[in-house]
């Protein structure tokens, strides 16, 4: 299908139909990970390390196994001891040995909450009691929590076989620095010599959890013949299948994974935690095993995104033109290597047309849970630092912050700091929309301030499958291989309806399990509406071709003389007007007589995802007595390509902003001196709730992506990139104090005000 340039040619795409999964969700009937029950099912629970760093001397399960009702105990001895094997199979680089050891500690516990054993019993209470009977002897080791402490030469080492990659000479000694990466463009030294104004800063962010409402949950059933089935809430049923098979040495075809409805993921459900453990417990016990994490387990045992320290230096001419930019980024990876340092390095300056750039990044392990992806992994951290520095630069130059960004904005033809030339991008359009928005013109009161920040994310395509089937009455089923996190069922149905020329209410979308649809890479990277959408469009186009052939057969004319429009076949060319149109219903009713069922499944590897840009405006009011920061108004402008279902796109933007505001103002992990997490719950780990926020206005700028037939580009990740800097810049505007360290919580804001007053 060729790119449809004119929006006026679209009848379904761009409208706001009722979401197909809405009634099930609001009436409580949607089946999430914890909702499944099976005959004979028992319950699994995980025993977790109370130490941040400890050698596991022994694990004794005899007393637990002797407890009536206990059916199985699993430790690392039950997992294959797989060798180090690096791959890029999920949302980032992955080492299967590390993934296995993250699911179940082997030899050492590397963080408070690290799984060391699991039990399965006939009731949850018995399983909980059995955990206390599993005897683990530890040799407690020195630990390290913070990133720069972990980089110190005398820091406690987590892995004695970890040597820094990316340095010229292989280090003689192991280190907690897993990797160094470096990007450069032009001559940064010469660029700073040319500068007339220079700003420098050191910024720190805290690890924050994705805080999905639904904790991890699954049911696993291992059959006597070795064939197994897992029902789970995740961002990819095929990811769960691949990882479990790899970790347990299974043949992939022996494992079927059915996706449950998902209560949020945001990148945090792109890994396995419980599923391999539940499979082993099921294999040992001969029963289906259900496992559900508590909120405390989610915080202690699953991955947040990195905390980081980022140093930034930017030089510019007096007219605002940037001459040089430099950053050093130090990202926590958690207990195993693999922070999003690569994309962090590549995204911080991606909004700008820079000639001289130097970026150095470090991936650093410490005694925290292994990090997982979180919306635009790595980018919000880098952008907090860069966009805060840009605000300082604007102040130093006496320039409007949007004008400074316009002066340096990436446009079509700009060479990105990470190399390639950008094209078909809409960053300038977001700046123009922000500048002309009424929000930017409103006056501020006492103790109020306004901040602006921009952000970038790549977006990706990837392997995707979709099937389209026509029922006997002409209604349509669309099956895709991606869990619906951000509205993909609605958008798949709408794109199929657009191609068929029928109302979307006649198209019903479902998410298939791993045995009912072709392989699909997971839901993440803002890829599904773009990539799986392309598979859906192509499958629907195949269906249209079949419908035209059936009509040609009925009319006894050449298929070349059949046109498809508005949900019906029309005779065309020399046969125009010879027959009444044949509707989709009419052709479907004759499908048995014209060749059988009508349908198509398409599997593709979609390329050409267009990058996304956003510019946000935030107004705050600071209570100088308490340090409390109130968000007064927030406007998020984003280039979305073309919004398939604008309400869902606005929801993505609003959700990303809400999470970014939480990252900015409140969220952090608090550890005691022994490295134990002190706030593993929503009472003490404060995410924003509706009463904390104003209505977030999403402004959708549409610069279509020509690689997608309807112009779609990913939208789910960019919205979380600018908020931390937008809020920080607003606070700076309100009280005249730069807050370089997150979160900008009331005690810290109050302390900064007090310090400035002295």
């Amino acid at each position: 299908m060729t790119f449809i340039d004119k929006k006026s040619h679209l009848k379904v795409v761009g409208t706001r139909p009722i979401r197909p999964d809405g009634v099930e969700k609001v009436t409580g009937r949607a089946a999430f990970g914890a909702d499944l029950a099976m005959p004979g099912m028992i319950f699994g629970k995980v025993k977790r390390s109370p130490h941040a760093h400890a050698r596991i001397v022994s694990i004794k399960a005899e007393k637990a196994l002797a407890l009536p009702g206990v059916r199985a105990v699993v430790t690392s001895a039950d997992f294959p001891n797989i060798p180090s094997e690096e791959a890029f199979v999920g949302e980032g680089p992955m080492n299967f040995r590390d993934l296995s050891r993250n699911c179940m500690a082997r030899g050492k516990a590397l963080y408070d909450g690290h799984a060391v054993a699991a039990v399965a019993a006939t009731s949850e209470a018995i399983a909980a009691a059995a955990l206390d009977l599993v005897e683990v002897e530890y040799e407690v080791l020195p630990h390290v929590i913070d990133v720069e402490d972990a980089m110190a030469a005398d820091a406690p080492l987590l892995h004695d076989d970890l040597f820094t990659q990316g340095v010229d000479l292989k280090p003689a000694k192991p280190s907690n620095v897993a990797k160094r990466v470096h990007f450069e463009l032009g001559d940064v030294t010469a660029g700073f010599r040319e500068a007339e104004v220079v700003v420098e800063g050191r910024y720190a962010t805290q690890p924050v959890h994705q805080a999905y409402i639904e904790p991890h949950a699954c049911v696993a059933s291992w059959n006597a013949d070795g064939q197994s089935h897992v029902w789970t809430s995740s961002q990819g049923q095929f990811m769960v299948r691949a990882y479990c098979a790899k970790l347990l040495g299974m043949q992939i075809a022996d494992l079927r994974v059915t996706p449950a409805e998902i209560g949020g993921g945001f990148g945090g459900k792109t890994l396995v935690y419980l599923e391999p453990v539940a499979l082993l417990l099921s294999r040992k016990s001969g029963r289906p095993v259900k496992m559900v994490m508590s909120r405390e387990e989610v915080f202690r045992g699953t991955g947040p995104t990195s905390g980081a320290v980022v140093e930034v230096k930017i030089g510019a001419k007096n007219d605002g033109r940037i001459t040089a930019a430099q950053t050093v980024l130090k990202y926590q990876a958690g207990a195993f290597p693999g922070s999003p340092i690569g994309p962090g390095c590549m995204t911080g300056f991606a909004m700008y047309d820079l000639k001289n750039v130097d970026i150095t990044g470090y991936d650093v392990v410490s005694n925290r849970p292994k990090v997982a992806a979180y919306r635009a992994p790595g980018a919000p951290i880098a952008s907090f630092a860069v966009e805060s520095a840009m605000d300082e630069l604007a102040r130093k130059l006496g320039m409007d912050p949007i004008a400074l960004r316009e002066k340096n904005a990436a446009r079509d033809g700009t060479k990105a700091a990470y190399g390639p030339t950008l094209k078909d991008i809409g960053y300038v359009e977001t700046l123009e929309a922000a500048k002309s928005h009424p929000h930017y013109q409103t006056k501020l009161g006492p103790n109020q301030g306004r901040g602006v920040a921009s952000g970038f994310w790549f977006n990706i395509g990837g392997e995707s499958s979709a099937a389209v089937h026509i029922a006997e009455d002409g209604t349509v089923a669309v099956v895709s291989g991606n869990p619906d996190i951000g509205g993909s069922r609605a958008s798949m149905a709408m794109m199929a309806a657009e191609v068929l020329g029928i109302p979307v209410e006649r198209v019903r979308p479902v998410v298939g399990d791993t045995s009912s649809i072709g392989y699909s890479f997971m839901t993440g990277g803002s890829r599904v509406t773009f990539a799986t959408g392309m598979a859906t469009i192509q499958a629907t186009e195949n269906v249209v071709e079949q419908l035209k052939k059936r009509a040609a057969m009925i009319w006894e004319i050449s298929v070349d003389a059949v046109e498809w429009r508005d949900g019906a076949a029309y005779p065309a060319g020399p046969n125009a007007g010879d027959f009444d149109p044949l509707s989709l219903e009419a052709i479907a009713a004759k499908s048995a007589k014209t060749g059988g069922p009508i349908g198509s499944e398409i599997s593709i590897n979609a390329q050409g995802a267009g990058p996304g840009f956003a510019t946000h405006i935030c107004d705050v009011e600071v209570d100088k007595e308490t340090g409390y920061v109130k968000i007064l108004r927030y406007t998020a402008v984003q280039d979305v390509g073309r919004a398939i279902h604008p309400s869902y796109v606005e929801g993505q933007v609003q959700g990303g902003v809400a999470q970014g505001i939480g990252w900015a103002l409140n969220e952090e992990y608090v550890y005691d001196t022994k490295g134990r997490l002190e706030n593993p719950g929503f009472l003490d780990y404060r995410v924003p709730v509706a009463s904390d926020l104003p209505m977030i206005e999403a402004v959708l700028v549409e610069v279509p992506n020509p690689k997608h037939p309807f112009g779609a580009r990913g939208v789910g990740e960019v919205p979380i990139v600018p908020p931390m800097a937008a809020v920080a810049n607003a606070i700076r505007d309100a009280i005249g104090i730069r807050m370089p360290n997150l979160p900008m919580s009331p005690p810290r804001v109050r302390a900064a005000i007090d310090k400035a007053a002295k």
Binding site: F88, G92, F183, P343, Y374, P420, N459, N605, K707
Partner: protein, 82 residues
Amino acid sequence: MPKVVLSGTAVRRFTGGQTELEVKATTFRRLILELDQRFPGLGRQVEDGMAIAIDGTIYQDAYNAPLGADSEIYLIPRIGGG
């Protein structure tokens, strides 16, 4: 001949620090084979861990991505997401 630029330092250890390479390859698949022949180990590293940006469009896992003689070609770290 197409000119390929290695973005970042991740694979420069294979090339002895060389950042720009002229290649005969006309597709990404042939580029992987050629790089492996010239710099043993680099081809696999590129295949498993890198994406290719051709005239600004990023391709991942695309053997048949065409390398034009005048194309701008960058090998960049593979992109994921959340």
